[in-house]
């Protein structure tokens, strides 16, 4: 499969249907790269024309802004807006809720106005319109899956149903954690916590959340955020359950169960 960058597309005078915003984690983090690849595979299978910014993409600036460093945020965000506007981008999809939030809610004030969707929303649309077809008796049929709401997709942007409806297409058994939806518990990564040690306390937040996920008895923890993915994986490992309980992104679950022509 060939993934094109905007520069390559523009050179050929082509315009993609949608820009896939990969994000730092999706580009560099080994675990999140798998999600990136799975998502590209899905888009490729359904024949959706998409492109990435590639090396022209920069961090959206979210962790800097939330850490308090507005200078660094503006540096990156303004350059990104420049690049996006330069390619006349109208629609963006991303697999990272932090990128999603910043692109959608914070770039407009900087002159960047785009229609931004999270990959769970696009997946829902592709499934509902029949572009993504699920295999009969897919890998996860009847299996117990629990879904972890990321803060920036759920509570911050109010997207609770799209990821759940994507999971429903797997024909699996969705079990909710005690704290879910508006009441979902953070994985501990947001607000640039991912990039520093925890403040002194009794317990790491991801451990608390992993314990809650494990308590559902589900064999699969589904996430929608590269940072949640890492945090939940670490939590499961800390409980020595990594052989029984898998942590997956929605895109990975779908790519495993969809009909590939």
């Amino acid at each position: 499969m060939n993934v094109f960058t905007m520069a390559e597309m523009a050179a050929e005078g082509r315009e993609p249907e949608i820009l896939f915003w990969v994000g730092c984690a999706g580009s560099f983090d080994a675990r999140a790269q798998k999600v990136t690849k799975a998502f590209c595979q899905i888009l490729d299978t359904v024949g959706m024309s998409f492109a990435i910014l590639g090396n022209e993409e920069m961090c959206t600036g979210d962790p800097a802004r939330r850490a308090g460093n507005e200078f660094v945020f503006q540096m990156l965000a303004l350059q990104n807006v420049q690049t996006l506007n330069g390619y006349n981008i109208k629609k963006i999809v991303t697999a990272c809720p932090h990128c999603f939030n910043t692109l959608k809610n914070e770039y407009p004030a900087l002159g960047g106005n785009y229609e931004v969707v999270h990959h769970s929303q696009l997946l829902q649309e592709l499934i509902n319109t029949g572009r993504v077809k699920m295999q009969e008796g897919g890998t996860f049929k009847g299996k117990k899956i629990t879904y972890h709401d990321s803060c920036y997709l759920g509570r911050v942007n109010g997207v609770y149903e799209a990821p759940r409806s994507v999971l429903a297409s797997l024909d699996a058994q969705l079990v909710e954690m005690k704290r879910c939806k508006t009441n979902g518990l953070c994985c501990g990564a947001g607000g640039a916590q991912m990039f520093k040690e925890d403040e002194p306390g009794e317990k790491r937040i991801n451990l608390e959340r992993a314990e809650e996920a494990l308590a559902t008895g589900a064999g699969i923890i589904a996430a929608n955020c590269p940072f949640c993915l890492t945090m939940m994986q670490d939590g499961v490992k800390a409980k020595d359950k990594q052989d029984e309980v898998m942590v997956y992104d929605l895109a990975e679950l779908i790519v495993d169960s969809m009909v590939k022509i």
Partner: protein, 441 residues
């Protein structure tokens, strides 16, 4: 006649004093920076109706919501009776609405009586939750001392209010051969059978005066109490931020500065701003917005925010409720110092003390530690949980901005992140290209 004079004097004094206190609170709120109120007014009214009047957010926890509703509705409806007490008190009449309204009067007062009984049940339940069951969120560090007593005092005042209402109504019924027919007091008035009319009158007066005196006390107690929320919940829900929850307030000065650096055109580039002397973010009430301070004064100290905070739940020092309470305490401290007019608190000692000319060598960082603000994951659980639409996250982020932008401090581990973001455009310093992954497909 003496009673009338006394009533007018006491009412005048307590109302006057209360107004003075409320004006001070208004002044303290306005110590915060001006912030334009953007967004749809219709949506603001919807928030007031649903959240303040309709108590919508309370109902995520059913039991306290129902108990609170009893007290709340009883409180609102008792104002009808209060109106009569005022008219009676000034004019020297007795139950002025009774001859006018007749049967409907019996209905209204009976309704209030039923609600008062429910409110009494709720009050006792609340006292038990705090003092006997010791519900965890009422016993965290920031609730020690005054905040804990405050909550109990209010509940005792409620019991007193209800006691005096029933003393008044039942003694009055006994005096007037039960002709009022109040639904609860008719069962209480037999207690007084055999009591002489003179004593009954005294009892009725004790009830009447007791009730109104507690009301006056309550009114003057509010400015010092978390119970201020019964008033401020309304403006606070009205002025609550309507922008998307995930949008941090933009900082145009920095945006324009960076645009200049990048050689981008700057719109409405007015006067050049001297970046060297600017302070960014907030370190005190003066650099928060007035809405942040209004938030602080509206806090009910219920701790719903803290009870869902992932940092607090895992034993970190951060408690969003404490952040909000600290802002109020600091605003109060500044207000009190301003009231002294003592120039020792003035920046320029030659000029009179004022909000603009104030420097007491303290700031919010004397109340809120770095450790607290560093622990926040910006998960917005506190924002979601607050029943009166307070946003504890916004001041936390403003303090972080101050720490990083104005003090150039902050967690040292963030430095490499900032550096690689600036130099490599990614949160990690990587040796491979950003798009390298696609060659593995």
């Amino acid at each position: 006649m003496i009673q009338q004079v006394l009533f007018v004097l006491i009412a005048g004094a307590s109302l006057g004093y209360a107004v003075l206190q409320f004006l001070k609170i208004r002044r303290n709120i306005k110590l915060g920076k001006d912030e334009p109120i953007a967004g749809d007014t219709a949506e603001r009214w919807r928030n007031v109706l649903l959240i303040a009047l309709g108590q919508k957010k309370m109902f995520t926890r059913m039991i306290p919501a129902v108990l609170h509703l009893f007290i709340y509705v009883a409180f609102v409806l008792t104002q009808v009776e209060l109106l009569e007490i005022f008219v009676d008190g000034i004019s020297g009449q007795h139950r002025v609405f009774w001859p006018i309204l007749g049967g409907f009067y019996t209905f209204v007062i009976s309704f209030i009586e039923i609600l008062s009984v429910l409110a009494l049940v709720a009050t006792i339940a609340f006292l038990a939750r705090r003092n006997v069951l010791r519900v965890a969120r009422f016993h965290q560090p920031e609730m020690k001392g005054w905040p804990f007593k405050d909550a109990n005092y209010i509940l005792f005042l409620e019991v007193a209010l209800i006691f005096f209402i029933f003393l008044m109504n039942s003694a009055d019924m006994a005096r007037h051969n039960d002709e009022y027919g109040f639904v609860v007091s008719q069962f209480l008035s037999p207690i007084w059978s055999g009591t002489g009319d003179g004593l009954l009158h005294v009892l009725e007066r004790i009830g009447w005066w007791g009730h109104i005196l507690v009301v006056f006390a309550f009114l003057n107690y509010l400015p010092f109490s978390k119970h201020l929320h019964i008033i401020l919940a309304f403006p606070n829900t009205f002025y609550a931020r309507l922008a998307p929850r995930g949008e941090m307030e933009n900082m145009p000065e920095i945006m324009n500065e960076v645009k200049n650096m990048l050689g981008l055109p700057v719109e409405n580039a007015g006067a050049e701003v001297n970046m060297d002397n600017l302070e960014f973010g907030a370190n005190d009430v003066f650099s928060l917005s007035w809405k942040n301070v209004l938030d602080a004064y509206s806090c009910t100290e219920c701790g719903r925010c803290t009870s869902v905070c992932p940092a607090n739940l895992t034993g970190k020092k951060l408690s969003p409720r404490k952040i909000v309470m600290d802002i109020r305490d600091r605003a109060e401290e500044i207000g009190k110092k301003l009231d002294t007019k003592d120039t020792q608190y003035a920046k320029d000692k030659a000029q009179p003390l004022s909000a603009a000319n104030f420097e007491d060598g303290k700031s919010l960082f004397d109340y809120i530690s770095r450790e607290e603000i560093h622990a926040c994951t910006t998960c917005n659980a506190c924002v979601e949980a607050c029943p009166v639409l307070i946003n504890p996250l916004e001041p936390i982020l403003k303090l972080r901005r101050y720490e990083i932008l104005s003090l150039s401090e902050g967690p040292s581990e963030w430095l490499p992140m900032f550096n690689s973001m600036e130099n490599n455009g990614a949160v990690w310093a990587m040796s491979v290209e950003r798009e390298a992954w696609k060659n593995e497909l």
